[in-house]
Each structure stands twice: as C-alpha cells, then as structure tokens.
C-alpha cells in the first residue's frame, strides 16, 4: 500500500515534500519539516522524494516553556 505517515496520520503518497505541503494547504505556512527523523530544509523539499511508509513531521511554533 502506498501511504505516508504525516504528523501521525495516514495520508496518500505524494511525490515530494513540496507537493505534500501544497496538498495539505500548507504551501505558504510557517512550518518546518522532517523526513524519517531527519530535518529537511525548506530549500530541499523539492528534491525530498517520498516513498511509501515514510514518516513526515510538519511542525510549527507553539506555546512552550
């Protein structure tokens, strides 16, 4: 099955991180990304090819101590 794990949710496969963010409506959002536990800089999202089973984290600034 071709799926991604995005912020703990199951999503259909997207070709790249850039495409995934667009599909999620987060193309212009203030977010940072990690792929399988490794940071992916915004400039590298175009070339961050996704594969079935990949785990993606899309994080934003939030309340913290």
């Amino acid at each position: 099955m071709t799926i991604l794990h995005v912020n703990g949710e199951t999503r259909p496969l997207s070709p790249t991180l850039t495409e995934l963010l667009k599909e999620l409506g987060l193309g212009d959002a203030v977010v940072a990304t990690a792929l399988n536990g490794h940071f992916v800089a915004a400039d590298d999202r175009d070339v961050a090819t996704l594969r079935s089973g990949d785990a993606i984290e899309i994080l934003a600034p939030l309340q913290g101590g």
Binding site: N7, H38, F39
Partner: protein, 264 residues
Amino acid sequence: MSQLSLYQETVQSRFLLGTARYPSPASLEKAVKISDCDIVTVSLRREKLGFSHHNERPGQSFWSLIQKIGVRVLPNTAGCFSVQEAVTTAHMARELMGTSWIKLEVIGDEHSLHPDVFGLVEAARILTEDGFSVFPYTTTDLGVAERLLQVGCQVLMPWASPIGSGQGLSDVAALEAMRASFPNVPLIVDAGIGRPSQAAEAMEMGFDAVLLNTAVARAGNPIQMALAFSKAIEAGHLAYQADCMEPYKGGMASSPIIGKACLG
C-alpha cells in the same frame, strides 16, 4: 541596573517568560507585555493538517501573535528524550524562527523531567558545532556544567526544582556552589520557581536571570503575577548588586546606645 549579555546580545530584562498554559492568547499577550520581558520561550509541535483558514491553524495564529508582541524568541526542544530528536528539533526551530538560539532540553526521566545530562552534553556539542547558541536546561551538577562549557555553551540554565513543580529552590547550597564556581558565566535559573519570593532569592544569590512559565500562566491572575515576578526579579538583582548584609546570631540594636535617655 546593569545589562545582561547572552551570546553577545544585550538584553534589558532579566525575566524570561514561557508562553504555555495561559487561559487565553489575550492573557499571554498581556502577561508578556506587563512583565517587560525581552525573551519568550516557544516550542515546536505538529501543525494542524488539512485545508483551513490561516488563523484556524494553531501554529500559524500563535506565530502571528508572537510577532505582534514583538519579543525575541528562544525556541526549546521540550519533550525530546534523545540527542537525535533534540538536534533535529533545533534545526527545525532555527529555520522556522530565524534564530540560532536554542533552549536545549534532553529529558532523562519522564516523571521528574530530570535532564539526561549525558545526552545534553552530546547534543550541546553537536549543536554548537552546527553554529547554534545553546541554552542548556541542566541540573546544578558542577561537572556537567564544566562539560557544557567545554563543548561551547556560553550560558547555563540550572533548574531550581522539576519543571512545572513550583517547589522553588530545592537545593540552595547547590545553586550557591554553582554561582561561586562560574562567576563569569551567565546563569539563568530555569524551572521550578513557584513564587516571586523564590525568584527574588535566586537573583539575590547572584543569578543573572530567571526563566519561568507555569507560575505565571497558572496563577489566579496571570497578568498580575507576571508583574509581581518582574518586580521581584528586578528587586532581587538590585539587592545582589547592593550586597546584602551577613546574618548575625542574636539581636543587635539598630538605634544607637549613645545618647539614650535614662528614664527609669
């Protein structure tokens, strides 16, 4: 009051305030403003997925609020239990918030939130090499403090007691020893402060600043409590500079004996 310098940046206020657990965004904004603090801590958490209005995404609306308030941010790696997690989080934070400052937390025990000091030193080493300015959340262990300095930390943040506990300065002697051991290193007491008097005590001991969150956010009136802490921290620092008297065993009359009338 003298100014505090953190990684070559001068800050006016010695009060660093967390942004979590407030009753509302409005109370957070008012608390930050009335506290007059220059630096607030923020975390990184999962953004809401799916199409929705910009302001309905928690991270986007929170970031807009922080930018509107106009204070410097100190992102944290709260909740990270491994070096890898903390390092990845720091890189994400740097890109997101445009700062190389990072409050480095590597937690060792999920109940006490005791730092994993071994992981902390390793993560601090990696992040310093990567160009970060690391603010390590640590214990009062002097050996660990020395290691953190050796790997490049220029600021240390010892806990007073466990995060969010409000227990205050649980080991005053250890804090005093740390202050005495590192007279030229900016030391920020981070975590465990519950009352303004405890913050004042830490500042009287010569600590350079205090970082807290829950004691303000969970107070009955967070805005007034933010002001109370601001005044206590300033008072404690003034007292430290003014050099407090040494305690004396017994009583000592403050009014002069000479010239006392003989009336009975």
